[in-house]
């Protein structure tokens, strides 16, 4: 039996009074690549914001590695934050710092390593995401794919147990995006990090996902869960098979 690392129970998520997801439950296992997918506007980003504690749930529980995120005091919350890393859609690197300084930021804050050790460590992190040689570049001087990788290096700075990705392939060309997928798979394999990815890129999903859940706008819940390939070929739900086979809505288009 594998360890459950994220446990979501009866989560009602939304903004203020407006409910976006109504009573969803699922588990994420340790070491797996877990993909949250669904059409635009179904609440994928909303779910992610709840999972990383940016928004408190309306009701329900989110348990991350044994700690309850939804009812945590400040101390537990800090503890949970140390276990997770997030790669934001726009990479969110600080524009005034070099890549090395961006990656070093959390390390300097949370460990008491000497300065020269931090530099070696940063070098290793950037090696891991194939950015060796770009230590002294500013974020504005590198391409979108490189920014994503640098953001990933920063998210991994403290070797969190769980990494969250918001639309990692958005805005990248297919080649770069496939490269990022490979990097995710590679890091998952060598570090054993649990990855939770929000995306709707089919190619990406088939390449990386061990397991997916699919959210639906109309039922405001999960309409499918499991291996993406199996869902593509065997799902009875018309919307699910439509999504995985990239068929448009009947009546859409000319």
């Amino acid at each position: 039996m594998r360890n459950v690392i994220i446990q979501v129970r009866d989560l009602v998520a939304g903004y203020g009074e407006e409910v976006i997801l109504d009573g969803i439950s699922f588990d994420v296992y340790e070491g797996e690549i877990f993909v949250v997918l669904g059409g635009s506007g179904c609440g994928k980003s909303t779910l992610l914001k709840h999972l990383i504690g940016l928004i408190k749930p309306i009701s329900g529980r989110i348990i991350i590695d044994g700690d309850d995120l939804s009812h945590s005091d400040d101390e537990t919350f800090q503890k949970i934050l140390r276990k997770i890393g997030v790669l934001y859609q726009s990479a969110a690197l600080l524009g005034s710092l070099t890549l090395a300084e961006n990656v070093a930021l959390p390390i300097e804050e949370y460990t008491d390593l000497p300065k020269d050790s931090i530099e070696t460590l940063v070098k290793m992190k950037l090696n891991l995401v194939n950015l060796d040689g770009y230590e002294n570049h500013l974020p504005s001087e590198i391409s979108g794919g490189m920014k994503k990788r640098a953001g990933l290096a920063r998210a991994m700075a403290l070797n969190p147990k769980i990494l969250f990705f918001d639309e990692p392939s958005a805005g990248l060309d297919p080649v770069t995006s496939a490269g990022l997928d490979n990097l995710i798979i590679h890091l998952n394999k060598i570090l054993g990090t649990t990855m939770v990815i929000v995306t709707h890129e089919l190619d990406s999903i088939f390449a990386v996902a061990h397991r997916v859940i699919m959210l639906d706008k109309h039922t405001r819940g999960i309409i499918a869960e499991g291996d993406p390939r199996y869902l593509r070929d065997h799902s009875q739900n018309p919307f699910v098979s439509q999504f995985f086979n990239r068929r448009p809505d009947p009546g859409a288009g000319p």
Binding site: T98, T111, L113, E119, K123, M124, E135, N159
Partner: protein, 383 residues
């Protein structure tokens, strides 16, 4: 041969074996990760300091997990060995551990890595750089004046092309919303001025002239200047930040490709709104200052309110009021112009927006004072 007892650093244990023939061996056991790496590094640094080493061997046979923090410990050990010119060797790494070392280029992580930012260039290079930058700033400044004038002319010829909604909103933000703070500051300023001058004037029994002093000084000089400085701080900075952020997020480019002239779209409403509301604010500022002076006059100097008002009206000419009004309009133009100009000069990210905002406020205040001096001189010789 000496052997120390196994030590524990959270989940990672190690023991140290000192063999006169083989040299020092460190035998590690368990997981080496972010939690225990800093402690291990510190302990090893303390242990190996001032120690005669001929060779250092690290035995990883029982290390079950190693990540980049663990690898860092090994690099540290290797560096320490290199410092005293001792041989360094890693033994018995398990498959997974060896793979990790490989992935992280352990062999190639050399000692001298420095992330120092590029050293600032020499003084001549910087001087030349600054010259070019200011030249380009000046060029932009001139072309910006041109484009603002063209846009204004265009809007005068085609009044319907003015974005009326934006202009009204801007008038509200720049004018109406600033009224309380302008009123309060002017009131206090009038109060202070009356109070300070009364100390002098009382000696001559010339209390009533406090009214003249406050009203004249405020309407001609301080009213317009104070109002302009407050507006520069409130709205000039807002103009720069708004346009700067739009520049960073490519909204200005989007306007351009949609066929809008960014100057006409963004600058003209702000300019027109400012030129309309700042003079009005100036009038309010004068009124509140006179009120402040009157409070002192009535309660401290025992003047009657009617005598104070009478004296104020006797002192002020219509020209003084118009002059203040006119200066308010000129200052408004300067504030809106500098704010927008700085906004359009933003390149890069958040830090650049901050610089633009600062520089918008500082330049407008400087320009306000400078223009005021020039106008005073002109008035002196011409009026």
């Amino acid at each position: 041969m000496t052997k120390t007892t196994p030590k524990e650093s959270q989940s990672c244990q190690y023991e140290v074996v000192d063999d006169p023939e083989k040299g020092l061996t460190i035998r590690l056991r368990g997981a080496m990760n972010a939690a225990n790496a800093p402690g291990l590094i510190r302990e090893f640094r303390g242990m190996l300091k001032d120690r005669d080493l001929s060779s250092l061997t690290v035995d990883l046979g029982e290390v079950t997990y190693l990540d980049d923090f663990g690898t860092l410990v090994l690099t540290e050990l290797r560096n320490m060995a290199a410092e005293v010119k001792a041989a360094f060797k890693i033994e018995n790494a398990r498959n997974k551990v060896a793979q990790m070392l490989e992935v992280l280029h352990f062999d190639r992580l050399d000692r001298k890595i420095s992330f120092e930012k590029v050293r600032p260039p020499g003084i001549f290079v910087r001087l030349g750089d600054a010259t070019f930058r200011h030249a380009s700033d000046l060029k932009y400044l001139i072309s910006f004046i041109g484009s603002v004038c063209l846009s204004l002319i265009h809007v005068c010829l085609h009044p319907r092309s003015l974005r009326r909604e934006d202009t009204f909103l801007c008038m509200q933000r720049t004018g109406v919303d600033a009224l309380p703070i302008v009123g309060l500051i002017s009131f206090l300023l009038g109060l202070i001025m009356a109070f300070m001058s009364s100390v002098q004037l009382q000696q001559f029994g010339a209390n009533i002239y406090v009214a003249s002093l406050v009203s004249l000084a405020m309407t001609r000089e301080l009213g317009p200047i104070m109002t302009a400085i407050i507006v520069a701080g409130r709205s000039g900075s807002a103009f720069a930040a708004e346009i700067g952020t739009m520049k960073v997020s490519e909204e200005v480019d989007a306007l351009f490709t949609m066929g809008f002239d960014p100057t006409r779209f963004l600058v003209v409403p702000k300019m027109i709104a400012s030129v309309i509301v700042v003079p009005v604010l100036t009038l309010f500022s004068d009124l509140f200052a006179i009120l402040g002076g009157m409070v002192v006059g009535v309660f401290i100097l025992d003047l009657t309110a009617s005598a104070y008002i009478d004296q104020t009206l006797k002192t002020l000419t219509l020209f003084d009021v118009f002059w203040g009004f006119f200066k308010g309009a000129i200052f408004a133009l300067l504030i809106a112009w500098v704010g927008c100009l700085r906004g359009f000069r933003v390149t890069g990210g958040a830090a650049s927006v901050g610089q633009a905002t600062t520089s918008a406020v500082v330049s407008s205040i400087f320009l306000i004072i400078l223009t005021d001096s020039v106008l005073s001189v002109i008035l002196r010789y011409w009026g």
